[in-house]
Protein backbone atom coordinates (compact mmCIF):
# COMPACT_ATOMS: atom_id res chain seq x y z
CA UNK A 1 0.00 0.00 0.00
CA UNK A 2 2.84 2.40 0.75
CA UNK A 3 5.14 1.63 -2.20
CA UNK A 4 2.77 2.21 -5.10
CA UNK A 5 0.55 5.26 -5.69
CA UNK A 6 -2.39 5.30 -3.30
CA UNK A 7 -5.93 4.75 -4.52
CA UNK A 8 -8.11 7.90 -4.56
CA UNK A 9 -10.16 6.55 -1.63
CA UNK A 10 -7.08 5.83 0.52
CA UNK A 11 -5.49 9.18 -0.36
CA UNK A 12 -8.65 11.07 0.58
CA UNK A 13 -9.06 9.11 3.83
CA UNK A 14 -5.49 10.07 4.76
CA UNK A 15 -6.28 13.67 3.84
CA UNK A 16 -9.45 13.62 5.95
CA UNK A 17 -7.55 12.26 8.94
CA UNK A 18 -4.55 14.57 8.61
CA UNK A 19 -4.43 16.68 11.74
CA UNK A 20 -7.80 15.50 13.04
CA UNK A 21 -9.24 12.25 14.29
CA UNK A 22 -12.64 11.42 12.89
CA UNK A 23 -15.30 8.73 13.06
CA UNK A 24 -16.51 6.78 10.00
CA UNK A 25 -19.34 9.02 8.89
CA UNK A 26 -17.24 12.13 9.44
CA UNK A 27 -14.54 10.63 7.20
CA UNK A 28 -17.14 9.86 4.50
CA UNK A 29 -18.40 13.47 4.53
CA UNK A 30 -14.91 14.93 4.57
CA UNK A 31 -13.77 12.75 1.66
CA UNK A 32 -16.74 13.92 -0.39
CA UNK A 33 -16.10 17.58 0.50
CA UNK A 34 -12.34 17.44 -0.14
CA UNK A 35 -12.81 15.74 -3.51
CA UNK A 36 -15.67 18.09 -4.44
CA UNK A 37 -17.95 15.11 -4.83
CA UNK A 38 -15.73 13.12 -7.18
CA UNK A 39 -14.85 10.49 -4.55
CA UNK A 40 -17.71 9.06 -2.54
CA UNK A 41 -17.09 6.16 -0.19
CA UNK A 42 -19.89 4.13 1.31
CA UNK A 43 -19.68 2.30 4.65
CA UNK A 44 -18.52 -1.03 3.14
CA UNK A 45 -15.70 0.51 1.12
CA UNK A 46 -14.68 2.79 3.97
CA UNK A 47 -14.16 0.08 6.57
CA UNK A 48 -12.48 -2.21 4.03
CA UNK A 49 -10.00 0.59 3.25
CA UNK A 50 -9.54 1.41 6.95
CA UNK A 51 -8.82 -2.26 7.73
CA UNK A 52 -6.11 -2.30 5.05
CA UNK A 53 -4.71 1.02 6.29
CA UNK A 54 -4.59 -0.27 9.87
CA UNK A 55 -2.75 -3.39 8.67
CA UNK A 56 -0.30 -1.18 6.75
CA UNK A 57 0.29 0.87 9.90
CA UNK A 58 -1.11 4.11 8.45
CA UNK A 59 -4.13 4.49 10.73
CA UNK A 60 -5.09 3.44 14.25
CA UNK A 61 -8.38 3.41 16.12
CA UNK A 62 -8.30 6.19 18.64
CA UNK A 63 -9.64 6.22 22.21
CA UNK A 64 -13.37 6.58 21.80
CA UNK A 65 -14.80 9.94 22.83
CA UNK A 66 -18.26 8.91 21.81
CA UNK A 67 -19.62 5.52 22.95
CA UNK A 68 -21.54 5.11 19.68
CA UNK A 69 -18.57 5.58 17.36
CA UNK A 70 -14.98 4.57 16.78
CA UNK A 71 -12.60 7.38 15.95
CA UNK A 72 -9.58 6.90 13.72
CA UNK A 73 -6.34 8.86 13.49
CA UNK A 74 -3.16 8.83 11.42
CA UNK A 75 0.01 7.22 12.70
CA UNK A 76 3.43 8.83 12.16
CA UNK A 77 3.89 6.46 9.22
CA UNK A 78 0.49 7.49 7.86
CA UNK A 79 1.54 11.15 7.95
CA UNK A 80 4.83 10.35 6.21
CA UNK A 81 3.07 8.35 3.47
CA UNK A 82 0.50 11.12 3.00
CA UNK A 83 3.22 13.78 2.66
CA UNK A 84 5.20 11.60 0.22
CA UNK A 85 2.11 10.95 -1.90
CA UNK A 86 1.21 14.65 -1.93
CA UNK A 87 4.75 15.43 -3.07
CA UNK A 88 4.55 12.78 -5.80
CA UNK A 89 1.24 14.18 -7.07
CA UNK A 90 2.61 17.75 -7.00
CA UNK A 91 5.67 16.74 -9.03
CA UNK A 92 3.57 14.81 -11.54
CA UNK A 93 1.19 17.74 -11.80
CA UNK A 94 4.07 20.19 -12.39
CA UNK A 95 5.47 17.99 -15.16
CA UNK A 96 2.02 17.62 -16.73
CA UNK A 97 1.50 21.41 -16.67
CA UNK A 98 4.88 21.96 -18.35
CA UNK A 99 4.01 19.43 -21.04
CA UNK A 100 0.61 21.05 -21.62
CA UNK A 101 2.21 24.47 -22.01
CA UNK A 102 4.84 23.13 -24.41
CA UNK A 103 2.27 21.37 -26.61
Amino acid sequence: MTKSPLTPAVFHILLALYGQERHGYDIMRQVEDDSQGSVKVGPGTLYGSIDRMIKAGLVVASNTQDPRRIYYKLTAQGKTVFKAETERISQASAIAKRQLKAA
Partner: protein, 208 residues
Protein backbone atom coordinates in the same frame (compact mmCIF):
# COMPACT_ATOMS: atom_id res chain seq x y z
CA UNK B 1 -20.29 0.47 19.66
CA UNK B 2 -23.33 -1.04 21.25
CA UNK B 3 -25.80 1.79 20.88
CA UNK B 4 -27.21 2.81 17.55
CA UNK B 5 -29.43 5.80 16.94
CA UNK B 6 -32.55 3.86 16.18
CA UNK B 7 -35.50 6.13 16.79
CA UNK B 8 -37.91 5.42 13.94
CA UNK B 9 -36.33 2.66 11.84
CA UNK B 10 -37.19 3.08 8.17
CA UNK B 11 -37.72 0.32 5.63
CA UNK B 12 -34.40 1.36 4.01
CA UNK B 13 -32.64 0.79 7.32
CA UNK B 14 -34.29 -2.62 7.70
CA UNK B 15 -33.22 -3.57 4.19
CA UNK B 16 -29.65 -2.43 4.77
CA UNK B 17 -29.55 -4.39 8.02
CA UNK B 18 -30.61 -7.50 6.08
CA UNK B 19 -28.04 -6.86 3.34
CA UNK B 20 -25.25 -6.62 5.91
CA UNK B 21 -25.78 -10.34 6.46
CA UNK B 22 -24.17 -10.92 3.05
CA UNK B 23 -20.78 -9.76 4.33
CA UNK B 24 -18.37 -12.26 5.92
CA UNK B 25 -19.25 -12.72 9.59
CA UNK B 26 -15.90 -11.42 10.96
CA UNK B 27 -16.32 -8.18 8.98
CA UNK B 28 -19.85 -7.63 10.27
CA UNK B 29 -18.80 -8.43 13.85
CA UNK B 30 -16.06 -5.81 13.62
CA UNK B 31 -17.80 -3.06 11.66
CA UNK B 32 -21.50 -3.92 11.50
CA UNK B 33 -22.67 -1.56 14.27
CA UNK B 34 -20.69 1.36 12.85
CA UNK B 35 -21.94 0.65 9.33
CA UNK B 36 -25.53 0.74 10.57
CA UNK B 37 -24.87 4.00 12.38
CA UNK B 38 -23.29 5.44 9.23
CA UNK B 39 -26.28 4.34 7.19
CA UNK B 40 -28.61 6.18 9.58
CA UNK B 41 -26.47 9.31 9.25
CA UNK B 42 -26.39 8.96 5.47
CA UNK B 43 -30.14 8.45 5.34
CA UNK B 44 -30.72 11.54 7.50
CA UNK B 45 -28.49 13.71 5.27
CA UNK B 46 -29.47 12.32 1.85
CA UNK B 47 -31.62 14.47 -0.40
CA UNK B 48 -33.62 11.46 -1.61
CA UNK B 49 -33.88 7.70 -1.28
CA UNK B 50 -32.56 7.40 -4.82
CA UNK B 51 -29.27 9.16 -4.04
CA UNK B 52 -28.94 7.14 -0.84
CA UNK B 53 -29.45 3.80 -2.57
CA UNK B 54 -27.33 4.80 -5.57
CA UNK B 55 -24.37 5.21 -3.22
CA UNK B 56 -25.23 2.18 -1.08
CA UNK B 57 -25.78 -0.17 -4.07
CA UNK B 58 -22.41 0.70 -5.60
CA UNK B 59 -20.76 0.41 -2.20
CA UNK B 60 -22.38 -2.95 -1.44
CA UNK B 61 -21.47 -4.42 -4.81
CA UNK B 62 -17.81 -3.43 -4.72
CA UNK B 63 -17.17 -4.04 -1.03
CA UNK B 64 -19.04 -7.37 -0.94
CA UNK B 65 -17.01 -8.72 -3.86
CA UNK B 66 -13.79 -7.44 -2.32
CA UNK B 67 -14.51 -8.78 1.17
CA UNK B 68 -15.44 -12.23 -0.12
CA UNK B 69 -12.54 -12.37 -2.60
CA UNK B 70 -9.99 -11.62 0.12
CA UNK B 71 -11.27 -14.36 2.41
CA UNK B 72 -9.14 -17.49 2.72
CA UNK B 73 -12.21 -19.61 1.97
CA UNK B 74 -12.54 -17.96 -1.46
CA UNK B 75 -9.29 -19.40 -2.84
CA UNK B 76 -10.98 -22.64 -3.88
CA UNK B 77 -13.82 -20.64 -5.48
CA UNK B 78 -11.33 -18.63 -7.53
CA UNK B 79 -9.49 -21.84 -8.50
CA UNK B 80 -12.80 -23.34 -9.62
CA UNK B 81 -13.61 -20.24 -11.64
CA UNK B 82 -10.31 -20.58 -13.50
CA UNK B 83 -11.24 -24.17 -14.34
CA UNK B 84 -14.68 -23.05 -15.57
CA UNK B 85 -13.12 -20.40 -17.83
CA UNK B 86 -12.48 -22.62 -20.92
CA UNK B 87 -16.13 -23.66 -20.88
CA UNK B 88 -17.30 -20.06 -20.44
CA UNK B 89 -15.01 -18.84 -23.22
CA UNK B 90 -16.35 -21.55 -25.50
CA UNK B 91 -19.96 -20.54 -24.73
CA UNK B 92 -19.15 -16.85 -25.23
CA UNK B 93 -17.40 -17.52 -28.54
CA UNK B 94 -20.33 -19.66 -29.69
CA UNK B 95 -22.86 -16.96 -28.82
CA UNK B 96 -20.67 -14.36 -30.53
CA UNK B 97 -20.28 -16.54 -33.61
CA UNK B 98 -24.03 -17.14 -33.78
CA UNK B 99 -24.75 -13.44 -33.37
CA UNK B 100 -22.30 -12.47 -36.12
CA UNK B 101 -23.40 -15.14 -38.59
CA UNK B 102 -27.10 -15.01 -37.54
CA UNK B 103 -26.87 -18.76 -37.24
CA UNK B 104 -29.55 -20.01 -34.87
CA UNK B 105 -28.04 -23.50 -34.68
CA UNK B 106 -24.90 -24.65 -32.94
CA UNK B 107 -21.98 -22.32 -33.50
CA UNK B 108 -18.73 -23.07 -35.22
CA UNK B 109 -16.76 -23.20 -31.97
CA UNK B 110 -19.26 -25.51 -30.27
CA UNK B 111 -19.32 -27.73 -33.37
CA UNK B 112 -15.54 -27.90 -33.41
CA UNK B 113 -15.36 -28.75 -29.69
CA UNK B 114 -18.17 -31.29 -29.97
CA UNK B 115 -16.34 -33.16 -32.72
CA UNK B 116 -13.06 -33.25 -30.74
CA UNK B 117 -13.95 -35.80 -28.10
CA UNK B 118 -10.99 -35.10 -25.85
CA UNK B 119 -11.48 -31.31 -25.97
CA UNK B 120 -15.21 -31.64 -25.38
CA UNK B 121 -14.76 -33.84 -22.32
CA UNK B 122 -12.00 -31.64 -20.95
CA UNK B 123 -13.77 -28.29 -21.42
CA UNK B 124 -17.30 -29.33 -20.61
CA UNK B 125 -16.84 -32.08 -18.09
CA UNK B 126 -13.40 -32.75 -16.61
CA UNK B 127 -12.25 -29.20 -15.77
CA UNK B 128 -15.63 -28.07 -14.34
CA UNK B 129 -15.90 -31.36 -12.40
CA UNK B 130 -12.46 -30.78 -10.84
CA UNK B 131 -13.58 -27.23 -9.97
CA UNK B 132 -16.80 -28.41 -8.33
CA UNK B 133 -14.93 -31.09 -6.36
CA UNK B 134 -12.29 -28.59 -5.24
CA UNK B 135 -14.92 -26.17 -3.90
CA UNK B 136 -16.84 -29.00 -2.25
CA UNK B 137 -13.69 -30.41 -0.63
CA UNK B 138 -12.71 -26.96 0.62
CA UNK B 139 -16.13 -26.39 2.18
CA UNK B 140 -16.15 -29.83 3.83
CA UNK B 141 -12.65 -29.21 5.22
CA UNK B 142 -13.77 -25.83 6.59
CA UNK B 143 -16.79 -27.49 8.19
CA UNK B 144 -14.50 -30.03 9.85
CA UNK B 145 -11.95 -27.39 10.88
CA UNK B 146 -14.61 -25.17 12.42
CA UNK B 147 -16.34 -28.21 13.91
CA UNK B 148 -19.51 -26.71 12.52
CA UNK B 149 -21.45 -29.80 11.59
CA UNK B 150 -24.40 -27.87 10.30
CA UNK B 151 -23.60 -26.31 6.90
CA UNK B 152 -26.94 -24.49 6.97
CA UNK B 153 -25.76 -22.21 9.78
CA UNK B 154 -25.98 -18.55 8.77
CA UNK B 155 -22.32 -17.96 9.60
CA UNK B 156 -21.11 -20.75 7.33
CA UNK B 157 -23.31 -19.48 4.50
CA UNK B 158 -22.00 -15.94 4.89
CA UNK B 159 -18.36 -16.96 5.01
CA UNK B 160 -18.66 -19.26 1.99
CA UNK B 161 -20.97 -17.25 -0.21
CA UNK B 162 -18.51 -17.19 -3.11
CA UNK B 163 -17.75 -20.93 -2.75
CA UNK B 164 -21.44 -21.82 -2.61
CA UNK B 165 -22.15 -19.64 -5.64
CA UNK B 166 -19.29 -21.21 -7.56
CA UNK B 167 -20.40 -24.71 -6.54
CA UNK B 168 -23.94 -24.09 -7.85
CA UNK B 169 -22.54 -22.55 -11.04
CA UNK B 170 -20.27 -25.58 -11.54
CA UNK B 171 -23.17 -27.98 -11.05
CA UNK B 172 -25.14 -26.05 -13.68
CA UNK B 173 -22.22 -26.41 -16.09
CA UNK B 174 -22.08 -30.16 -15.41
CA UNK B 175 -25.81 -30.44 -16.04
CA UNK B 176 -25.29 -28.70 -19.35
CA UNK B 177 -24.46 -31.90 -21.26
CA UNK B 178 -27.58 -33.91 -20.40
CA UNK B 179 -29.92 -30.94 -20.27
CA UNK B 180 -28.86 -28.44 -22.94
CA UNK B 181 -31.24 -29.97 -25.48
CA UNK B 182 -33.76 -31.49 -23.09
CA UNK B 183 -34.63 -28.29 -21.21
CA UNK B 184 -35.46 -26.14 -24.28
CA UNK B 185 -37.44 -29.12 -25.65
CA UNK B 186 -39.39 -29.41 -22.39
CA UNK B 187 -40.03 -25.65 -22.07
CA UNK B 188 -41.15 -25.45 -25.70
CA UNK B 189 -43.47 -28.45 -25.24
CA UNK B 190 -44.95 -27.02 -22.04
CA UNK B 191 -45.62 -23.68 -23.72
CA UNK B 192 -47.26 -25.42 -26.67
CA UNK B 193 -49.29 -28.11 -24.95
CA UNK B 194 -49.38 -27.21 -21.26
CA UNK B 195 -49.68 -29.97 -18.65
CA UNK B 196 -51.96 -32.16 -20.78
CA UNK B 197 -49.23 -34.37 -22.26
CA UNK B 198 -46.53 -34.01 -19.65
CA UNK B 199 -45.68 -37.74 -19.51
CA UNK B 200 -45.00 -38.22 -23.23
CA UNK B 201 -43.29 -34.82 -23.29
CA UNK B 202 -40.76 -35.89 -20.62
CA UNK B 203 -40.18 -39.14 -22.55
CA UNK B 204 -39.68 -37.28 -25.84
CA UNK B 205 -37.37 -34.65 -24.34
CA UNK B 206 -35.31 -37.20 -22.43
CA UNK B 207 -34.09 -38.46 -25.79
CA UNK B 208 -33.67 -35.00 -27.30
Amino acid sequence: MEHIETKPQSSSFGLYKLLLALYPSAYVEEHGAEMLQNFLDLERDSSSRFTLWALISKDLLTSLIYQHMTMKSSRAALFAFVLFLPFLIMVALTILHNAVTHNSGTGLIANFVATQTFLAYTFIFILPAIGVLAVLADMVMDLMRERAWNPFRARFFRDHLLSLGMFCFGVLILLFIPLHDAVPCFVHGMLKEGFSNIGPLIQACRNA
